[in-house]
């Protein structure tokens, strides 16, 4: 089993095939989209592949160390930030093929006009921590 992060972006991903912003959908279309996401997560729970899911606010800022005894420097939020992560789902699956298949399903969530969203999701494998192997 290997864990994968399915990353959803507010901005920064290539354009979705059904690229109407969510605020221009009908309420019923939004509901259908949300229900699809919930059902998707519930399905993964049933197959024993669900680890975690969460969403991020689109607010946020950059922070860095600014020298001994000084408070950290903050900057932002930047309206123009190119890449903005919206949320993620962590799955634990048997293969990369399965991770890709699931990301494809997630990207098929209904959007404007009830048609599949077709948004790009970023799929990233996790590094494992401590794995003793017989390989050496």
């Amino acid at each position: 089993m290997a864990k994968y992060l399915l990353l959803k972006h507010y901005r920064g991903a290539p354009a979705a095939t059904n690229n109407v912003p969510m605020d221009q959908w009908t309420p019923a279309e939004v509901d259908a989209h949300m229900k699809y996401m919930d059902d998707f997560a519930a399905g993964l729970q049933r197959t024993g592949e669900f680890v975690h899911a969460d969403a991020l606010s689109d607010r946020g800022m950059w922070v860095r160390y600014d020298g001994e005894g000084r408070p950290p420097v903050t900057d932002g939020p930047f309206a123009e930030t190119k890449d903005l992560i919206a949320g993620w789902m962590i799955i634990d699956v048997d293969s990369e093929e399965r991770a890709i298949q699931l990301a494809g399903e997630l990207s098929a969530a209904p959007a404007s006009g009830g048609k599949p969203n077709g948004e790009w999701l970023e799929v990233r494998p996790f590094l494992t921590w401590d794995r003793e192997t017989t390989a050496d």
Binding site: M1, K3, Q45, R46, T47, G48, E49, F50, V51, H52, D92, D94, P125, L127, T128, W129, D130, R131, E132, T133, T134, A135, D136
Partner: protein
């Protein structure tokens, strides 16, 4: 009572319930419930006969499950209330349980989870912690696996290869969380070896023990990875190595070579060398040839190329490496090491850095980064 002793009681309890007419899925659930009660109650009031206690409480649990499902299962209930056969579950039952949990009908992850629960006697929470997933996810994975086993009976024919594969997977998961899966895999393989005389089972047990014996030298005091060639060999567990070598010799004497015996033979040759210079690389290469004849795996080809480099020099090793599919994990790391030995430090440093980017785990990545940094700062 030690936890391991309690866990040993789980498979016989499942077999006992199945013999009394319970289906495997219900029996396994009932025993898990009884196990949780045992873990909660036994520290304060240990039973006189723990095995009988577990079977009795699990059986009661099973009957309760049936009653709550009631009318639909009226027929099963009648069946279940018939007197239990008196004979205790034997060797065959235990072996069948291994086969069932490793059924090819299951995905590897499901087979691993079910094996750890029904044979290892671990709780769902312990397994979930070890694999860093929520308990609910692991519970679903296990109940789904049992549904997939649906019609398969406990006495169906099984394949020992798939069982060994499952145990090997558990071993390679190592230790994460609070549970030592390496030790658990050894415990289960040892049990399996007592149930069958198949030499590959003993080969796998020897392989696990040989790796386990090197465990304390594999990690430095700061938690960093120490490769085999740099390990402090005085820290190897010689008692475990000696035990493994006896098991391996016994297996090889059966003259039915398999991949685990061949891998164990290679591990034994490493274990036998008191210094890295004493390593018998020529014999190791010939065992890799045997292993290739059995498995024809690209990973084996890669490891063989590294052994060839040690036996015949880095140039010959690099030529062997050129024949290996470059997408094999650790290919770049092996190339870096061979180029370093061939004296091309610039290229080696570059390859170590590239290998670090491709590494699948943090310890390996950090090790490769340090190797790149070491070469770059020595220039």
């Amino acid at each position: 009572m030690q936890e391991e002793v309690v866990r040993d009681l789980v498979p016989p309890a499942i077999s006992a319930l199945c013999r009394r007419g319970a289906d495997f899925a219900s029996a396994e659930d009932a025993v898990q419930e009884a196990l949780l009660k045992a873990l909660a109650n036994w520290p304060d009031s240990p039973p006189r006969d723990p095995q009988a206690w577990l079977i009795t409480v699990a059986w009661r649990q099973f009957l309760d499950q049936l009653k709550s499902a009631d009318a639909r299962n009226a027929r099963e209930l009648r069946l279940a209330q018939q007197p239990a056969p008196g004979t205790p579950p034997g060797t065959d039952d235990s072996l069948r349980l291994y086969f069932l949990c490793a059924s090819p009908a299951l995905t590897p992850a499901s087979a691993v989870a079910l094996t750890l629960r029904a044979i290892g006697g671990l709780t769902t929470k312990q397994i979930a912690d070890a694999y860093l997933v929520p308990e609910a996810t692991m519970a679903q994975r296990i109940s789904r696996a049992k549904r997939q086993l649906g019609g398969i009976r406990l006495d169906a024919a099984g394949d020992l290869r798939t069982v060994l594969r499952v145990l090997y997977l558990v071993f390679n998961e190592g230790y994460s969380g609070s549970l030592d899966l390496t030790a658990e895999a050894i415990r289960l393989t040892r049990q399996l070896a007592s149930l069958t005389s198949d030499p590959e089972v003993r080969g796998l047990l020897a392989l696990m023990l040989l790796h386990h014996a090197r465990r304390s030298s594999r990690t430095g005091p700061d938690g960093r990875l120490v490769p085999l060639r740099s390990q402090d060999r005085t820290r190897w567990d010689t008692e475990t190595i000696a035990e493994a070598v006896v098991i391996l010799q016994d297996a090889l004497a059966a003259d039915q070579l398999g991949e685990y015996q061949a891998q164990a033979a290679i591990a034994a040759l490493h274990a036998d060398a008191r210094t890295v210079e004493e390593t018998d690389w020529v014999q190791i290469v010939s065992w890799y040839d045997e292993l290739l004849a059995i498995t024809d795996s690209p990973v084996v080809r890669l490891n063989r190329a590294v052994a060839v480099a040690e036996a015949d020099g880095p140039a010959v090793g690099l030529a062997a490496l050129a024949e290996v599919d470059p997408s094999v994990p650790r290919h770049t790391a092996a190339a870096a090491y061979l180029h370093e030995n061939a004296g091309d430090l610039t290229r080696a440093a570059h390859l170590y850095a590239e290998a670090a980017q491709k590494a699948g785990n943090t310890k390996e990545r950090d090790h490769l980064l340090r190797e790149a940094a070491r070469l770059r700062s020595s220039r």
